[in-house]
């Protein structure tokens, strides 16, 4: 039962890929990866820094290198359409986890590297579309969403605001020391 269902899903997606090839405005690339992609788990072994040290060239020339966290990130991975799947390895997962304030345990790092690699490889099919003249949609149009007047209104009381805090001290949220 399980394999049948799974394969039918994949087939739907594959059939959709076939059905839309060549539609106006959607020039599907002939080498478009199938929606069910190569498993990038076979790319760099967990624990290696291959991806970080040999980033594929940037297609978009996006963003400056480096991050606020001071960790040099691997380069952009969405290289040319013929580039292999993104190099989501332990180094990158640990870097992103640090940005996201997640203290992953060791077994999670390998697992997420594998799973995110597969998902990112799938997402790279977007690269088949030429969007150079397409504006980005951050939000659907909201031209009938007026701002409210900037007026003071009753809100939560001090006690209500503190009522759910895990630690309270001196009528405020208590946190570990963060300045010496």
């Amino acid at each position: 039962m399980a394999p049948r269902r799974r394969s039918s899903l994949v087939t739907v997606a594959a059939a959709m890929a076939a059905a839309t090839t060549g539609c106006a405005g959607a020039p599907a690339h002939p080498t478009l990866p199938p929606p069910e992609y190569e498993d990038p788990g076979s790319s760099p072994a967990p624990g290696t820094d291959a991806g970080a040290e040999s980033p594929p060239p940037s297609r978009t020339g996006s963003g400056p290198a480096g991050t606020s966290a001071g960790h040099p990130p691997p380069g952009p991975v969405l290289g040319s359409r013929h580039m292999p799947a993104a190099q989501i390895d332990r180094t990158l997962v640990l870097h992103v986890a640090k940005l996201a304030s997640l203290s992953l345990v060791d077994s999670e790092v390998d697992r997420f590297a594998h799973e995110l690699g597969r998902i990112v490889a799938y997402v790279e099919q977007l690269d088949a579309l030429d969007t150079s003249d397409v504006p980005a949609t951050a939000h659907v149009r909201l031209d009938r969403a007026p701002w409210r007047p900037d007026e003071a209104r009753p809100g939560l009381t001090h006690e209500e605001a503190l009522s759910q805090a895990p630690a309270v001290e001196s009528e405020g949220f208590a946190v570990p020391l963060f300045v010496e």
Partner: protein, 521 residues
């Protein structure tokens, strides 16, 4: 209360004084006690509080006041929606025990319409999932087959409506989280136009996509609940200042001459043949009723999954930054002298695997060096998907398709393959990305009796045309009046042995299990 007591039926009887709100509430609590143990649709049952609210409604009627549109109607609320004084966890361990100090706007509006909040429903953690298996408190089960998922993320809401524990519920839909569980449980579920319903008090997943909407046993019940919760809210800056539609009246409109578009990409080879046959039969039927059926093309459909899982996770990574162990929820101390270590330990302990996966993906696509290649690209593809619909709606009034490529799948079947799970959302994601109203209604079941959903998508703010077609289809649908067999049997057994309900009697005791974060109030 017969098995098929609908929203309109209960409200009408309570308004006319033929039944008290307390009776309706006790009836619902009795069904929950009898049925929810194995289904696990509720994370919290409001018990005493619901009964007290119902008695307040009854006192108002006794004083001669005119009651609201949902007088005495038990409503189940997805646990991502804040309810003052009732635990709200969003299905996450990081919010176990959280009791909001305020009501979401939709909950305040339900209460103002004299609805009774009966409990909080199970869901995938932070609405991230399509099966309910990502609930930190154990999944809800599908009342049609307890070995199968009720869908997600509003799976608990769908399961309790399907099992007739409540005639309606609220869910939230970011990429299909109302429509897909509605399809898998044989219920009606509406995702309104983005901005139609206030998100104030909804625990945010992806703010440019999230929208609250109703699930119900029938189209008119869903239309009434939608009418109650819709409307401009100054507390939500994305709330549209537009008139609330005449949703219920639309259910009686003629559908003759309406143009139905069938996207060729959605009925492609490979779709489960039973789903395809069921949906095609419904479309043929609508044609016989006077609708004009046309094939349309939505050429960027295949890119919706990729675009969605970048946009939604990016927004989620930002929204979920607020869960840091300071103002509410869990705190895992770790080293008490290190703030960042406390953040990291709290979030690692409090979030489940799917939430971490999406936070990591979202952080990655927003991070320096990758933003343009992934996030900006996905936003541009989102534009193309919205344009597909704009083009199609120049030719047709409503787009009709399956809601999901399969009927309810077995619990555990896809849990280890996140991408296979994501691909199951291909039919619901595009309308979400375009901000359009969409709904799922039951059509002919599979040979094994599992529900199948028909999805309707309409132009922005044109829920009325969608509801007209939905109501017309419902009146002739082979799924009309279908109730899960185990639910029907259980209710028949209960009615045979039941003593007449007395509104003054104590509420039934609702069984709890160790998985549940809370107990009855």
């Amino acid at each position: 209360m017969p098995i098929e007591s609908s929203v309109l039926d209960i409200a009408g009887r309570v308004q006319r004084g033929e039944m008290s709100a307390a009776q309706a509430t006790l009836e619902a609590l009795g069904r929950i006690a009898a049925l929810d143990g194995p289904i696990h649709g509720f994370l919290y049952v409001a018990g005493d509080r619901a009964l007290a609210d119902a008695r307040a409604v009854d006192r108002r009627r006794a004083r001669g006041e005119v009651l609201g549109a949902l007088a005495g109607v038990p409503v189940a609320i997805k646990d991502a929606i804040c309810t003052r004084g009732l635990p709200t966890t969003a299905g996450s361990k990081i919010l176990a025990g959280y009791v909001p100090p305020y009501d979401a706007t939709v909950v305040a509006r339900l209460r103002r319409a004299d609805a009774i909040v009966i409990g909080k429903t199970n869901m995938d953690e932070f609405a991230m999932g399509s099966s309910n298996e990502n609930s930190a408190f154990g999944p809800a089960k599908n009342p049609w087959d307890l070995a199968r998922a009720p869908g997600g993320s509003s799976g608990g809401s769908a399961a309790v409506v399907a099992a007739r524990m409540a005639p309606c519920a609220l869910g939230s839909d970011t990429g299909g989280s109302i429509r897909q569980p509605a399809a898998m449980t044989g219920t009606v579920g509406i995702k309104p136009t983005y901005g139609r319903v206030s998100r104030y008090g909804l625990i945010a997943f992806a703010s440019s996509l999230d929208q609250i909407g109703p699930l119900s046993t029938d189209v008119r019940g869903a239309a009434r609940v939608l009418g109650v919760v819709s409307g401009h809210d100054p507390c939500d800056s994305t709330s549209l200042d537009v008139p609330v539609g005449a949703f219920e009246a639309a259910c009686d409109r003629s559908i003759r001459g309406l143009r139905i578009g069938v996207p060729k990409e959605y009925l492609a080879e490979g779709l489960d043949p039973e789903i395809k046959a069921s949906v095609c039969s419904a479309i043929d039927d609508l044609q016989r009723e006077g609708c004009v059926v046309k094939t349309v093309t939505l050429p960027h459909t295949q890119y919706a999954v990729g675009s969605y899982y970048v946009v939604a996770t990016a927004e989620a990574s930002s929204n979920l930054a607020r869960f840091d162990g300071v103002r509410y929820g869990l705190r895992t101390s770790g080293d008490t002298r290190d703030l960042r270590a406390m953040y990291g330990a709290t979030r690692d302990t409090g979030f489940g695997a799917e939430v971490k996966r999406r936070i990591l993906l979202g952080t990655f696509v927003l991070s320096s060096g990758y933003y343009d290649a992934y996030y900006l690209k996905a936003q541009k593809v989102r534009t193309l998907i919205a344009r597909d619909f704009a083009d199609a709606f120049r030719e047709v009034d409503v787009i009709c398709s399956p809601t999901s490529p399969t009927a309810a799948f077995r619990l555990g079947e896809k849990v280890d393959d996140p991408l296979a799970m994501y691909l199951g959302d291909i039919f619901t994601l595009p309308a979400s990305l375009a901000g359009l109203p969409a709904m799922s209604i039951p059509c002919a079941p599979t040979a094994t009796g599992l529900p199948v959903g028909l999805q309707l998508v309409a132009r922005a703010l044109d829920e009325e045309t969608m509801l007209a077609i939905a109501a017309a289809w419902e009146s002739r649908s082979p799924a009309r009046g279908m109730v899960p067999p185990q639910v029907a049997a259980q209710m028949a057994a209960c009615s045979a042995t039941r003593v007449p309900l007395d509104a003054r009697s104590a509420p039934p005791v609702v069984p709890t299990d160790s998985n549940r974060p809370s107990r009855m109030s």
